[in-house]
Symmetry: C2
Subunit: 683 residues, 2 copies
């Protein structure tokens, strides 16, 4: 017997379809391709997946609206939905299950928006030594005197002209060789991988081969599209990690795998499909855009409309002949279809450290089918291939200077040392610094507050949102369309709240100072104090955007974990002070160095020696793409960087607690004097 089905329609997207009865609205949204935020991976704790049931709208489908078409209200939902909203039909998407045909409205704040991703290629020095090189050869056709086989005819020429020896060839490519050789009239361009294997042969002459360096973040996937012969970055393409729908952070996704029968397969398929879309996008960008034009017969057809003065490479997917790829260990495992069971469980051993060369076709990656992916090696369960990418881009192991490299993604990954010794660690900052677990936290998407200034005198707030250049001060309220606060705003938020005296060094609201301040109030629902950053009329969600005591606690926990981690590493290396702090990741790009010190994000360092190094993980992937020696270096790093589990250090708990204060007063911050008012520092 067929499983019973029900029609579900999601608004405002209008996506609709039949789904099996009994599944949750979140599951239905996935089946129908609707992205609903599920930060907690359906652990029913984040309350981000609130939707409104609108059965009444269903009348046009001749469905009775009087009976309930979703499961009954559950007591857990009370935590996130008040009585008023409950009566309006609001429900948690992860709790309510489909009983019959239903129309569901997804409010803007519950939609998983498109993040604004900006990961441009930085200028770093890379030696040109790609794994894939193109060689042009011309051979004689076979005769009775020399009936040598097609392949050996070519390898002999490659040995004669370029000194290449003992080449093999991939069977998929070999099948095409006889035709190509004759099509090219015995002249061919041969792509050789690692001086070992022929992975592509083109008829005639060719100079260029292309590759992708892909950095798979928990949230964002970014790729550098490079010409392997010239090292030029042809394009930078990026997208949301399609796995976000299974949970915002790594642990949520591991949980999804552990609680869903084919969870690993689904997440693996999704990221591979996502990367294939990214590849298509990269390739499509090398062709002129297509526009509708009338043809001679007056019919509208799609035609290429080249931009004036622009030349197009007109590449195909098969022109991508190499890929390097890095991710954190859990994303690495999910991508490769390796169980993340054990990286999610103490003592967090990965399945593999070493890099892997895997045929693109074995993973279902749609490029030149004989090509390989180089998967960067993992350092440890919580310090993955992405951190190896950071290392080979920043090369702290090449100098005497003691560098502290901080990569703040959804977790904090730390490396400290110089050419004599390198140690790494991870700290459970949680995703707060990226906007998650904060009441109005959100990804860096349009409408996100990314910059905040609070007047120390009046404690009035000014802010800027993504997607609008003008600050609040220079705008009409309705122009702001604020929706939440994103990662780069979080740092501003805490620092500004503190320097303006809104909160004390303990993180607690300075209630005395805020008495009768219009932005300060007690929330009637939970009786907790909160501070209003943006009023409802400035928001697109028709709500005041506030920061709560709990939010501040989350940020404190994050920065405390980061600081304590850094401190323990400095101690472990027997150092007094680090020479340089490098902050990688999107967070590092936008970081305000002063505010980072004010917050006590990491141990004291000369302000000039603090630098953002952008998408260093991606740069490392790019270095490995263009220079095979970097691949060897990557494995050296993964093997030789000593991983330290901070949580087992004796003083960790104490250090962590102390580090939650703002700024961290148990240490000396001479560089803050003159930047932060003394009365604040000394309070």
């Amino acid at each position: 017997m067929d499983q019973e089905k029900a029609m579900v329609i999601f608004q405002p997207s209008g996506r609709r379809g039949e789904v099996p009865k009994g599944i949750t609205l979140i599951e239905a949204s996935r089946l129908l391709g609707v992205d609903i935020e599920a930060l907690c991976g359906e652990k029913k704790v984040c309350g981000k997946c609130i939707v409104r049931i609108e059965e009444g709208h269903f009348e046009k489908y001749n469905v009775q609206s009087t009976m309930s078409h979703v499961s009954e209200w559950k007591v857990e939902e009370e935590k996130f939905i008040n009585q008023d909203n409950r009566e309006k039909g609001f429900r948690l998407g992860c709790m309510a299950t489909v009983l019959d045909d239903v129309l569901v409205f997804v409010p803007e704040e519950s939609r998983a928006g498109k993040q604004v991703v900006s990961k441009a290629a930085r200028d770093i020095h890379i030696d040109h030594n790609p794994a894939v090189r193109v060689y042009n050869v011309q051979v004689d056709p076979p005769t009775f005197e020399d009936p040598t086989a097609d392949f050996e005819r070519i390898t002999k020429a490659l040995e004669r002209d370029y000194g290449l020896q003992n080449l093999t060839i991939d069977i998929v490519m070999l099948r095409k060789l006889p035709g190509i050789l004759r099509e090219g009239k015995w002249a061919v361009a041969v792509s050789v991988w690692n001086d070992k294997e022929v992975i592509r042969i083109r008829p005639g002459k060719a100079e260029n081969a292309y590759g992708l360096a892909i950095d798979v973040g928990t949230t964002t996937v970014a790729a550098y599209f490079c010409n392997l012969s010239t090292m030029e970055v042809v394009d930078t393409v990026s997208m949301m990690n399609p796995q976000c729908k299974y949970g915002e952070d790594v642990m949520a996704r591991i949980t999804y795998h552990m609680t869903t029968l084919d969870g690993l397969q689904r997440m693996s398929d999704d990221i591979i499909e996502g990367i294939n879309e990214l590849i298509e996008k990269a390739v499509a960008n090398t062709h002129p855009p297509k526009k509708k034009r009338k043809n001679d017969a007056g019919e509208k057809v799609l035609v290429e409309v080249p931009e004036e003065g622009k030349t197009y490479l007109r590449l195909d997917k098969v022109d991508i002949e190499d890929i390097t790829i890095g991710f954190n260990t859990a994303m690495h495992h999910i991508f490769l279809g390796l169980t993340p069971d054990y990286v999610g469980m103490a003592p967090f051993p990965p399945v593999i450290h070493h890099s892997m060369d895997i045929k693109a076709r074995d993973l279902g990656i749609d490029i030149n089918p004989s090509s390989y992916l180089f998967v960067l090696p993992n350092e440890a369960g919580f310090v993955g291939a992405d951190n190896v990418g950071v290392l080979i881009a920043e090369e702290p192991y090449k100098g005497e200077e003691n560098q502290l490299i901080i990569d703040i993604g959804t977790n904090g990954e730390l490396v400290l040392g110089n050419r004599h010794k390198l140690i790494s660690s991870s700290c459970a900052t949680g995703p707060a610094l990226e906007g998650a677990q904060i009441t109005f936290g959100m990804r860096a998407a349009p409408g996100a507050i990314e910059r905040i200034e609070i007047d120390p005198e009046t404690r009035e707030v000014d802010y800027k949102v993504i997607g609008r250049d003008a600050w609040r001060k220079f705008s009409e309220p309705k122009e702001m369309k604020a929706k939440g606060i994103c990662g780069s705003g979080i740092l501003d938020l805490l620092a500004e709240l503190y320097t303006a005296g809104v909160i004390l060094k303990s993180g607690v609201f300075n209630k005395k100072a805020l008495e009768s301040h219009p932005r300060f109030r007690i929330n009637p629902d939970n009786r907790q104090p909160e501070f209003v950053l943006a009023w409802a009329d400035e928001s697109s969600i028709e709500k005041d955007i506030v920061v709560t005591q709990k939010d501040i606690r989350q940020i404190q926990l994050a920065k405390g974990a980061l600081y304590a981690g850094c401190k323990l590493m400095v101690k472990r290396m027997g150092l007094e002070k680090v020479d340089r702090v490098k902050i990688a990741g999107a967070f590092g790009t936008h970081v305000d160095r002063t505010k980072a010190l004010v917050m006590g994000l990491f141990p004291d360092c000369e302000i000039d020696m603090i630098e953002g190094v952008g998408n260093a993980a991606g740069d490392g992937c790019r270095a490995a793409l263009l220079n095979v020696k970097k691949r060897v270096e990557a494995n050296w790093c993964a093997r030789n960087v000593e991983y330290i589990e901070l949580t087992v250090e004796e003083t960790f708990q104490q250090d962590f607690m102390e580090a939650m204060q703002l700024p961290h007063m148990t240490d000396d911050f001479p560089h803050l004097r003159g930047i932060v008012p003394d009365e604040i520092l000394d309070q």
Copy 2:
């Protein structure tokens, strides 16, 4: 609109099904899994595919039998079907097309029978050095102090205990590692390929790995199933090459590819499916046979019934961890999906010479999925990997003795030389020595005449058929059930006809001597002389089995080509005489050395220095399976054996013409004196 279909039923097999109207009966037989002989690959020249149309039998399906349900008679069919048989409804399966529902009877002589294959493993010396070795390791579980990844935990132990370094692992295997490691309580048996790649990990302890050495002949596929750890041959399995239905010889199959849109794919799929069946058979043989037994409830169920005193390995397909495989160049190409276009066209260059290591899964071969197939290298277009197998088994390059190695399959492959120089060649013997292109030629299947003796006095014939121990002389006529003459009988045939004076040295019937001999007659249909080997009452096909002047000509052509080839090679090497003749292949196993000399199959040699070396190609595959050094040797052979195209040699035509005589009188055969009557030798 659907293509119109017609029901076709083949008798006596009873196979039936709907096929598209307009296809030939041969094509229909393939679709329905009926094997009809098609020696010529549907070039309409062999006349082996005669069938009888029996529309009348179709009445039960309510089909009018008065109208013709196959296409009209074609003039080309007259060559093979006389008026009498035409009226009985006989047609060529490759000419008659299906117009409507039709019942077809396939006479026994048109059925592609099961060949009797006997390819047992010979005792040859092989050093033990397999590509796949099993290592047992025990590791500690991960801790916070040592959270090393699963894979590196194992490789460290492999380095510590066995000195293995820089191991990689196949992604498919890696996915299973975490579960296996924990299932085995941190003890595992690791299979390592070529000291490089981990291809299998089993929980707990294990000592043995298994492999197959497969020799794919044009007609027969045979495999040695070996224990890689002990070198023991566990079993020998074989089957017909399922490609036989596309044509008996290599050229017929190349033609099939050239004239059929997906011919290459079909033939490739068939041989791969065939090898998978062989693998299943090999594995099934390691389990007790299953028989129907009553269970406690009185129901009949299949249960294992072990033979007394026999132990069973109980292996699974995944227990096969290595395969070596050799074939002639065309079969090699078809197996790998490489176009055979150019090996079938002068100057016959292959697509590749060198050996290949190909993942079993990339070819669809169903063994341990991370394992490789080692595909032996090709020498030239007509001297393939099978000949390389012969070479590494016989090792003529290791001694001073000048060896002539003859491998008579469907083509003759020749190698001559010693440790200083080796040359190879192929000669177009055609398949006559294997029974094809002979009026009553057939494969070595039951009913084939395999031995013949002709009394020099009476010229009476005695013979023996496969499947019956007693010769004709000691049997009742109806017990013989002769059906045709097979390869091993061909040699007897010509030698006996000649020594008995039935034919002259020119090959022409000795009409004077045969005047009024009851076995000699003029065929009334074609007015050609023929000699009766078996009378209709001794045959299962109700026909006299005869040898015609044309048949004798075919055998003469084959032996002439072989002899001329050998002679030219001896000349090219500057030799007077070879020291040893080795005859490989099924033909070599059954060859009567004296008769081979009488026929002038190859240049003179001491009779004691002529030996059959059996399935040397298969032995070479087995050597490569059990000793990786043999793989290197194979590539050395393929590169260093000089291929000579005989047909371009100046004297080839002249030598060939002369060599067709019986025996070859332009040379001296001192060893025949005393064996063959002087009056015959000197006639």
